[in-house]
Assembly symmetry: C2
Homo-oligomer: 355 residues x 2
DNA sequence: ATGAAAGCGCTAACAG
DNA sequence: CTGTTAGCGCTTTCAT
């Protein structure tokens, strides 16, 4: 009998009075009927095959193939409390900065059958609670934020949901739960050191208007003052642009900086995209990088190695970050506690030609 | 009585013998108890408020706030057959090409309370069926593919799942369900026309190795032959690079092309990233664009307007595509049929400086 | 090693 | 307008 299995017609006279039709797809019970076992055994074949003898295993798997059974994980998740869904929230999907993280996260999750839900938070903090509750209502086994939670209310709601949370791309002393990040102030300070080592006299910065870019700027300005390159932090020439900033903003911001008629020989851009824009504008104006102007970016996007001149920048290991986030959550989901809740993954200065 | 509502303790002596503890979070029933109504009424307040008088509405909403009720959509989805989840599959998350589409899709879905699940398919077609079943098992209300389904088996499985499917970024005569795309061959032909109009004598191409880039190439070569610019399609100078191609590949591919010692005065790059790479390499080698070399890209990434010279390219309205995909799926989910299953959204040539 | 029963939290269907 | 009942398809718990 090789015919395709047919679910019993819904119009059979024996159906109960109060009736709801299901999805029409094969269910565990259908497989069980065909295989001549109970639904429970089929479930075991799927979720814990080692508890089932080989003979039964094959038998049931044949039945699964025959009825083209596709599990319903909504039902499974409801029953077990484990949805195998992980939610991630990024400020802007179109921003290339988090792509590497997101990709690593997705891939690491996929290896264990987890699926990513993606949400967009925006750069402002409007309605954090609403945003989080939307995710929580989906019953994810974990939530990854590419930010630190802002409001106290949101913190409480997240914490009381009992769902593992990983805040990333930033450092804070009291994370909601777990944290993977690095110090933006230190990044700024490091870039200042590069400038100073190059003998830069007139430092400037093009900065996105998001909180983290601002903290890189503060670290940068502070160190410049410490080293005597600047009198006060306010003396730093800064052009601020709205995040997420496309390359064109970098060109324009650099023009604006030049228009101030103040000498500039060192430029820190809060993202590589902005740096690329500045580089292009410099080339356009025949300003020689790095001889006349040192340029440093942030992020080490794939483009950074191939600009002309190649961009000196700060690399965040987004892949490591994403993979680690996935690991922490999956470890938690499997019932294990995570020993280290705070991970400072640091950053790396990539010296190339532009500074 | 303003105390926070407490769920009855799980250790009460009256609990049934066979016992499963839930998530510990408040449920509809808890809200109902506090509000002094039935669970059904609470459900109506949430999903169909117009069917409930204002007084009850407020009453229930107070109770919801009091117990900090967050709905469980896994349960809701299971019961109603509508999960308010939409799955999207992109070849590579790190590829900027689909970002605009993805962002528009996410945002359009979010307006109606839908949530995106993101998956990565890769550029090869390994295990399409597996990939799709993974998504299907999550019970999404729709599936958006940034590709056309390849294998017949995968087509059947998708179709028989009954889930609305939107294939995008391509055109085909027999879509699984709905389709939003444009003709890659026509894009290639259009670019050829630009080249010819510019008087290009020695056309070349840098192309990703994915099927759609190849079809753009075919359209390009065909038209060049038709117009007598090339003797045969094989005469086109092509450098092929692996997709998804970062900018650096464009630089290298262009070098490779130049190393062939064949004259080149027109270059079509299968993506803007590749074009940017070629542009940078040209600048590096003092090849004047567009005077000595016309360059045309594809995609109209945000960078394209701000390269130097500004990049002439082909624009796909990713935002429109994403929004439309969301609309089609949501219309279907609300029970309405979609009149037009195939949407050719075309493309737009954006003339800038590079050609 | 396998099965039966109970229930996860919600909504559809029906009845009032 | 509101409540009761019966599932959605699965896993947990317990019994064999």
């Amino acid at each position: 009998m090789n015919r395709t299995y047919q679910k019993p017609s819904l119009n059979e006279p024996s159906r109960p009075k109060r009736f709801r039709r299901g999805s029409g797809r094969a269910t565990l019970a259908d497989v069980a009927k065909v295989a001549g076992v109970s639904a429970q055994t089929v479930s075991r074949v799927l979720n814990n095959p080692s508890a089932v003898p080989t003979a039964t295993l094959e038998h049931v798997r044949d039945a699964i193939a025959q009825v083209r059974y596709v599990p319903n994980r909504l039902a499974g998740g409801l029953a077990s409390g484990r949805s195998k869904l992980v939610a991630a929230l990024v400020p802007a999907i179109a921003s290339p900065v988090f792509l590497e993280t997101l990709e690593a996260l997705t891939q690491a999750l996929a290896t264990q059958g987890y699926q990513l839900m993606l949400g967009e938070s925006g750069y402002d903090d409007a309605d954090e609670v609403q945003l989080f509750e939307n995710l929580i209502s989906r019953g994810p086994d974990g939530i990854v934020l590419t930010r630190v939670v802002q409001s106290e209310l949101a913190r409480q709601r997240l914490a009381s949901s009992g769902i593992p949370v990983v805040e990333t791309w930033d450092l804070t002393d009291n994370p909601v739960d777990m944290l993977i990040g690095f110090s933006h102030e230190q990044v700024g300070a490091c870039v200042a050191d590069i400038m100073i080592k190059r003998g830069v006299k007139y430092p400037a910065m093009i900065s996105g208007n998001d909180p983290r870019a601002r903290r890189r700027r503060i670290g940068y300005a502070k160190r410049l003052v410490e080293k005597g390159c600047l009198r006060t932090e306010e003396d730093l020439q800064v052009a601020e642009v709205p995040a997420p900033a496309p390359m064109g903003y970098g060109r324009r911001a650099f023009r604006e900086l030049l228009a101030r008629q103040v000498p500039i020989d060192g430029l820190f851009c809060s993202t590589d995209m902005l740096a690329l824009g500045a580089l292009i504008e410099a080339q356009h104006r025949k300003i020689i990088v790095p001889d006349q102007l040192a340029v440093v970016g942030f992020g080490d996007l794939v483009i950074a190695a191939d600009t002309s001149p190649a961009l000196t920048t700060v690399r965040i290991n987004g892949q490591k970050l994403g993979t680690l986030a996935a690991e922490l959550i999956m470890r938690r989901a499997s019932g294990n506690l995570v020993p280290d809740k705070i991970h400072d993954i640091g950053f790396e200065v990539v010296m190339r030609e532009s500074a």
